[in-house]
């Protein structure tokens, strides 16, 4: 019974966190993988999502409304930042430097506005259930369901609409895209906004589950970056698979070893796996994104 309780908790908890990571890493994969912009400030959009979620939920009195508004606000902020960064976004070194500056600025702004004390957002759904004797919040299940729904919508958007096609075409050959009438600068701006909005959404979703601090974005960025690299640039569904399997594996391992050692073991396992079989997470497809718009 104790083992069942430990395993079920570890795996379920791992999947929930994995889906949150999948959302955030999908956002980075749109910006970095599809558009080729190395966005070091991606974690800051996640952090701002959590802060704005906390702020709006407390001021308008509805967390669920904040959940809808905040990603839109962050998408708009992301688009604004992309417009400013346009002159440097094709240069890797300059885009790293400038987005690093954006990260510091956003982090500093959060510290200035809301202070360094950790913020707490009440769980919008206090109820929970017993998972073999351990309490588990229904809210976490809702987080997982929302993440699945949004990832499905993202798939529709990128794989079944003209926008998704234009996004990849703009990156593949921007001059040819311009020649055939694709508004490349606008597509880049919208793509960046989409990625920022996804990071913001994952931030609002986790806000009731974590302590909200200005440096929370820095912590998640390293993990999300690793997931995107392991899954393959531009291959969004691979990074979703990596995020969920990485997190679930970590949850499972923590049943048998100390949780910190479990995290290290998971990293080592993923590294070894990618060394031995680099295309393990490639869903049986080619490494390069297909230019016809399929196979993301």
């Amino acid at each position: 019974m104790a083992l069942i309780s430990q395993v079920s908790f570890g795996v379920l908890n791992g999947i929930v966190w994995g889906l949150v990571l999948a959302l955030a890493s999908s956002g980075l994969n749109v910006i970095f993988g599809l558009l080729g912009i190395v966005n070091v400030a991606h974690g800051s959009f996640y952090m701002l999502g959590a802060f704005l979620g906390w702020f709006l939920a407390n001021h308008i009195g509805s967390y669920w409304l904040a959940l809808v508004i905040v990603p839109v606000l962050l998408a708009i902020l992301g688009m604004g930042i992309e417009v400013i960064l346009k002159p440097v976004e094709n240069d890797i070194s300059l885009s790293v430097l400038s987005t690093f500056g954006v990260m510091l600025a956003l982090q500093g702004a959060a510290l200035l506005m809301w202070g360094g004390a950790p913020k707490r957002l009440a769980v919008p759904l206090e109820y929970g259930f017993s998972l073999f004797g351990t309490g588990y919040s229904y809210y976490r299940i809702i987080v997982a369901l929302v993440a699945i729904l949004v990832l499905f919508v993202l798939w529709l958007l990128l794989d079944r609409t003209g926008f998704g096609l234009k996004l990849r075409a703009a990156r593949e050959d921007s001059e040819l895209s311009l020649a055939i009438g694709i508004p490349v600068p606008l597509v880049y701006t919208l793509g960046f906004g989409l990625g920022a909005g996804l990071a913001g959404l994952s931030g609002v979703l986790v806000a009731p589950m974590v302590s909200i601090t200005p440096d929370m974005g820095v912590r998640i960025f390293a993990l999300v970056f690793l997931i995107v690299i392991a899954g393959g640039l531009g291959r969004i569904w691979n990074s979703v698979l990596v995020a969920i399997s990485f997190s679930a594996l970590r949850g499972l391992l923590t049943v048998f070893v100390d949780p910190t050692k479990g995290i290290i073991a998971t990293f080592v396992f993923v590294l070894l796996l990618l060394t031995v079989k680099p295309d393990f997470f490639q869903l049986g497809e080619n490494q390069e994104p297909r230019p016809n718009g399929r196979g993301l």
Binding site: G115, G116, A117, P118, G135, S211, D215, T260
Partner: protein, 417 residues
């Protein structure tokens, strides 16, 4: 020809003005040199993980220096404050300590809340023979790594544990699981609390290290043996403490055991949420005025008013929760300095040995200079001892349940200076 006798010529006028200006500047310079300001440095966390503490430490130090200046300064000399942000980072902190001493000419430095910063700054203080008053609680600051220029007026981790473990065993249970921050302070606390527990016949069911900056406490708290644990001792601070308290409630651990937090667990934290209810903790000073001992009430009122804190422990300007366990330390350290400097007729660096003698072994009573209450700085290792309080969250507020006297925290010194 016109007679200019008795009339000031242009040449005379210029000479007069020039010599007057010279005389005034010499006199002014001499008068300034006769009472040069005494400089107190503050090494403070204004950004990073402990920014919540730093905000209050700066206010407290400023208020103390303003009061001291209103009362005539230190031995007739005005006092000025210079401060530097450590960014809650040991390397940056020790670099800024050097800047405070060498560039800002700090005569003394009141130190950081972060133990890592304090430990990294100890060699700087020794090298430049500058008296240093760290606030960080790692035992080794006044233990294995302490030196003659270091004075800590607030408790060490070891003193906290010595002071509190008996109360927890007597009132909450003898089978403990300790979940702790996996760095110097947490490891030190694990060692000290468990040592007391085991020496008195208690049982350490498990010890769970947690890396700093952990968002998901689920896997760590799932390790707690709910069948055998009476007390879950939480040795965490800031965002980690908050995350742990919330998740332990969500997982129903508050129904299966008693949760007890160390001093950092509820520092500067709004405890008005369901997960915090019934949580016990140990603190250096009550958050609410009503819990301050009667004989200290008058001093507490004056202290809060000058720093800008209301009776419930919230900032008058912005409602921020005060770090009640520590914000009195910069205030008291400024007063310790004033009294010692005046007692030994301190004039400059050359008198540092006399200042050290004046500070070592000093005993103070509760007063407007020492609102936290009676305390003494042990001569042998320069470690301070003072009262502690056990508190519990009831109806969204911290209530003091018991007071622990200063001598309860006494331990064998690990350094002899």
């Amino acid at each position: 020809m016109k007679d200019y006798t008795g009339v000031l010529t242009r040449r005379d006028f210029l000479k007069l003005v020039g010599s007057s200006a010279l005389a005034v500047s010499v006199v002014f310079r001499q008068s300034c040199q006769s009472v040069p300001p005494l400089t107190v440095g503050l090494q403070v966390e204004l950004t990073g993980g402990l920014a919540t503490y730093g905000y209050w430490h700066l206010k407290s130090a400023r208020a103390a220096i303003e009061k001291v200046n209103q009362e005539g300064g230190i031995a007739g000399r005005p006092v000025r404050l210079v401060y530097a942000d450590t960014e809650t980072d040991p390397a940056t902190g020790s670099r800024r300590m050097r800047k405070l001493i060498l560039k800002n000419n700090a005569d003394f430095v009141i130190g950081s809340q972060h133990s890592g910063v304090c430990l990294a700054s100890l060699p700087v203080s020794k090298r430049f023979t500058t008296p240093y008053f760290p606030i960080g609680e790692a035992t080794q600051i006044t233990g294995s790594q302490g030196h003659e220029f270091v004075f800590r007026s607030n408790y060490s981790v070891k003193a906290h544990a010595r002071s509190g473990y008996g109360w927890v065993m007597d009132n909450l249970g003898v089978n403990w699981t300790i979940i702790y921050a996996d760095y110097a302070m947490g490891q030190s606390a694990l060692h000290e609390w468990s040592q007391g527990l085991l020496a008195d016949g208690g049982r350490l069911v498990d010890q769970i290290p947690v890396p700093q900056g952990t968002d998901d406490f689920g896997p760590y708290l799932k390790k707690v043996n709910t069948e055998e644990t009476d007390v879950l001792l939480i040795v965490l601070y800031g965002p980690d403490a908050l995350a742990c308290i919330r998740r332990s409630y969500e997982m129903g651990l508050d129904q299966k055991m008693t949760r007890f937090g160390n001093t950092g667990s509820v520092e500067a934290l709004d405890v008005d949420f369901p997960g915090a209810e019934s949580l016990f903790s140990i603190t250096n000073y009550p958050r609410r005025s009503v819990d301050v001992p009667q004989e200290l009430q008058e001093f507490d009122r004056e202290f809060r008013s000058r720093v800008g804190v209301d009776r419930d422990g919230k900032g008058l300007e912005n409602g921020r929760i005060v770090d009640s366990s520590h914000y009195w330390v910069p205030w008291e350290n400024v007063h310790f300095l004033r009294d010692a400097a005046e007692a030994c007729d301190w004039k400059g660096k050359k008198d540092t040995t006399r200042l050290i003698k004046a500070l070592a072994g000093v005993t103070v009573q509760g007063s407007d200079s020492h609102p936290q209450g009676n305390k003494y700085i042990r001569e042998i290792d320069h470690q301070g001892f003072h009262a502690q309080y056990i508190q519990q969250v009831q109806d969204g507020e911290l209530h003091v349940l018991a007071s622990l006297p200063p001598e309860l925290g006494e331990y064998e010194p690990t350094a002899v200076l």
